[in-house]
């Protein structure tokens, strides 16, 4: 079963079919659509587990849809980087569980089935994006995930949410066009859309279109990832969206740009047709600026979700800096941080969602003293906060350590300094948050009368917080898992 080839394509189709059927199976309360979405995510997660077992067993593998041969049909490809579907499935499942009580409170009842549909379509888009080995297929799945993300931001129906979604839509549409343009140029140069085939045929191509193609791809993907200065759409969209959606957007959707960059690097490094050292230097600098700038703005936020949104910009900075440094340590750190940051940020956003759901407050001053009435949620958020600062033994530590080592390995100690400085700033704003929860008096009597969140909210938050600790203790597992993929990526550069 595990090595049954078509499993890879069924893995993409399961959430797709589950998504489009959700409104049909739904009842008036939305309860049935929730159960349906849970079932779909459980099945999808089981398939992800089987595929990851297989990649552990036999290394990267492919499946060509329709029984054609590779460059002519569409090839799906599963390698160590694709194992990030594990976190996609996990967060998808937990976000759906969390929505059980959250969605009816935040959304009009008619919209609830479509909320689950869009959530599952978003997961479908991400899974397809991650496992495809074809450039145009990548674009198609990117559109599924982008369109559903815009709608999920707007779904609460508040004016501010609709404005934020519109801003996201405009930026996202331009970035998609940029990516399509890059894919078109690569096709014009090679006559192929299969990534492995493009890699082989790219050598000796004309320089100017090649540079523009990679520039267009980078630009588009970095808008999706909200790297400074392309981040302006992110704070509003991520802060105003319903909290489970914020967790998915901040934890996963912004990482799609990063995973797309990894595919791009595989083509660029593998073909040797273009020297990306200039681009990498720029990305390293922009990453460093993102770290500091995102953390700096986060310090001044009073709205807890706004703070978390700026913190995402900062963390994307870490990852992009790791990519740009292009040394083996920094790349391992960056790819593992894609995974760990997803867990941490989902803990924080779902935890914040539970606080907002129970108290109706979303500012630090409004949430003062909430640690007494909601001890489990605030404890989980505190674990998330410690992790994101990167204090050992939590999940955030090892990847940042590796990125810093990578900076030294690449002979750029300055960037390791930027990294530590960013971590200090992050420490400041999370201290403010923890201080508000535990050490400040509630503003009014209402805040102390609230209860702990219901189980469907508390369990996902606690599971994620536990994983933040577990991934800190077992941090070397993902590092050694991803190492062969990074070694393969850097091999054409002479071992990095």
């Amino acid at each position: 079963m595990i090595s049954w080839p078509p499993l890879l394509v069924l893995f993409v189709l399961t959430p797709l079919v589950g998504a489009v059927l959700t409104p049909a199976v739904s009842d008036a309360t939305g309860r049935r659509s929730w159960e349906w979405a849970i079932g779909t995510m459980l099945l999808t997660s089981a398939m992800a587990g089987a595929l990851i077992m297989r990649v552990l067993d036999e290394g990267p593998f492919s499946y060509v849809v329709g029984g054609w041969v590779a460059p002519y049909g569409i090839e799906l490809h599963f390698d160590e980087f694709s194992a990030s579907v594990a976190v996609v499935c996990l967060l998808g499942l937990l976000a759906v569980v969390f929505s059980r009580h959250y969605a009816p409170a935040a959304l009009a009842p008619e919209r609830i089935p479509y909320y689950y549909t869009l959530l599952l379509l978003n997961i479908t888009g991400m899974i397809g994006f991650i496992v495809t080995g074809d450039l145009f297929n990548l674009y198609v799945f990117m559109e599924i995930l982008s369109l559903s993300a815009y709608a999920l931001v707007a779904i609460s129906g508040e004016k501010t949410a609709e404005m934020a979604a519109f801003k996201y839509l405009v930026m996202g549409a331009v970035s998609s066009l940029s990516i399509l343009f890059g894919v078109g140029l690569l096709y014009a140069l090679t006559g192929s859309l299969n990534m492995a085939d493009v890699t082989m045929r790219l050598a000796g191509s004309a320089k100017a279109p090649l540079v523009v193609a990679f520039a267009a791809l980078t630009l588009g993907l970095m808008v999706k990832s909200a790297l400074f200065p392309l981040h302006i759409w992110l704070p509003d969209a991520h802060a105003i969206a319903p909290s489970p959606v914020s967790a998915i957007l901040s934890g996963l959707v912004v990482k799609v740009g990063i995973l797309g960059m990894l595919r791009m690097y595989q083509i660029a490094y593998g073909s040797g047709a273009i020297d990306l050292s200039g681009l990498n230097l720029m990305l390293t600098w922009l990453g460093a600026i993102s770290i500091v700038m995102g953390a700096f703005f986060a310090v001044f936020q009073d709205d807890i979700k706004m703070m978390l949104a700026y913190s995402t910009i900062s963390n994307i900075g870490y990852i992009v800096m790791g990519l740009g440094l292009a040394s083996s340590y920094s790349l391992i750190g960056a790819t593992v941080h894609v995974f760990n940051h997803a867990l941490i940020k989902a803990t924080l956003f779902l935890g914040a969602g539970a606080l907002i759901h129970q108290t109706g407050q979303r500012t630090l001053s409004g949430l003062a003293g909430v640690g007494r009435s909601m001890p489990f949620t605030t404890a989980a958020i505190s674990i998330g906060a410690i992790s994101i600062v990167g204090i050992p033994p939590t999940a955030g530590f090892l990847c940042k350590w590796y990125i810093a080592l990578g900076a030294l390995q690449a002979g750029q100690p300055l960037f390791a300094v930027a990294l530590v400085f960013g971590a200090l700033l992050i420490f400041v704003y999370y201290i403010r948050m923890v201080n508000a929860f535990y050490f400040r008096k509630p503003q009014d009597a209402g805040a102390s009368a609230v209860h702990e969140a219901p189980a469907t909210m508390l369990v996902p938050v606690l599971v994620l917080a536990t994983l933040c600790l577990v991934m800190g203790v077992l941090g070397s597992l993902p590092l050694s898992f991803i190492e062969p993929a990074v070694a393969r990526l850097l091999a054409p550069l002479g071992g990095g």
Binding site: R111, L118, E162, G191, S192, A208, P209
Partner: protein, 238 residues
């Protein structure tokens, strides 16, 4: 100042892009990679390998059928997004009143739409069903069908036009395009071992054609419903 800066930036960008395009393999020349690699293979082997007389169909439904499966999902995602954002609006008072702005279409318009409707319908069905042999197909025919429903919605008035879209099974019909695609793909998986694979034997050609027609019909009907529903939702109807 800002405007001048924008103009300068655009000129620089245009120069870079034009320079890149100028260095591309010459467009239309038979020696470019776009015509000599995968494209050439499709032209050479498409008709015999896929059994489709139309090379475009052999690419979009056979060789790259999985992309088309994704594209119909994009269209369905767009509809789901529109429904999610436009239904269940809590403050209905904010919406423009459809009745107040409603102007009765003229007799001429009503008469012509009613007379043309059956012909548009027949042509749409023709384009859908012949998609695998002639230019056209589910997307094009579905657009015609959708346009027909929109035109009828404009002339028939609220109550009559609501009947054009069946209310009960709508939750299935609106997603019929990806559903038929996946169903036909799974049939291929069960019968011939690969998702979206079609029989390649000469004797089984009618089966392959039937599968293609089924996909085209799904795309056509699903696409039409998407167009019609988006139109109706934007008019504040359900």
């Amino acid at each position: 100042m800002k405007r001048a800066l924008t103009i300068v930036l655009l000129i620089v960008l245009a120069a870079v892009l034009l320079n890149a395009v100028a260095a591309l393999p010459p467009h239309g020349s038979p020696d470019t990679p776009a015509y000599t690699h995968v494209g050439a293979y499709y032209l050479e082997h498409g008709p015999e390998e896929t059994g489709s007389e139309n090379v475009v169909t052999s690419v979009i439904l056979n060789y790259r059928g999985f992309d088309t499966n994704g594209e119909v999902t994009v269209i369905v995602t767009a509809l789901m997004a529109v429904i999610a954002v436009l239904t269940g609006v809590r403050d209905a008072g904010n919406r423009p009143d459809t009745d107040a702005t409603h102007v009765e279409p003229s007799v001429v318009v009503r008469f012509i739409v009613r007379v043309l409707a059956p012909f548009i319908l027949v042509f749409a069905v023709y384009v859908i069903l012949n998609g695998h042999v002639t230019p056209g197909g589910g997307f094009q025919g579905g657009t015609m069908l959708g346009a027909l429903v929109i035109a009828l919605t404009l002339v028939l008035g609220e109550r009559e036009s609501a009947k054009l879209i069946p209310q009960r099974p709508i939750r299935i019909i609106q997603v019929i395009a990806p559903l038929t695609f996946v169903a036909v793909g799974l049939a291929g998986l069960i019968a011939w071992g690969d998702f979206l694979s079609f029989p390649r034997d000469e004797q089984l050609r009618p089966v392959a054609e039937a599968m293609l027609v089924l996909i085209e019909a799904g795309i056509g009907i699903g696409g039409a419903v998407v167009f019609a529903r988006v139109f109706r939702l934007m008019g504040g109807r359900s």
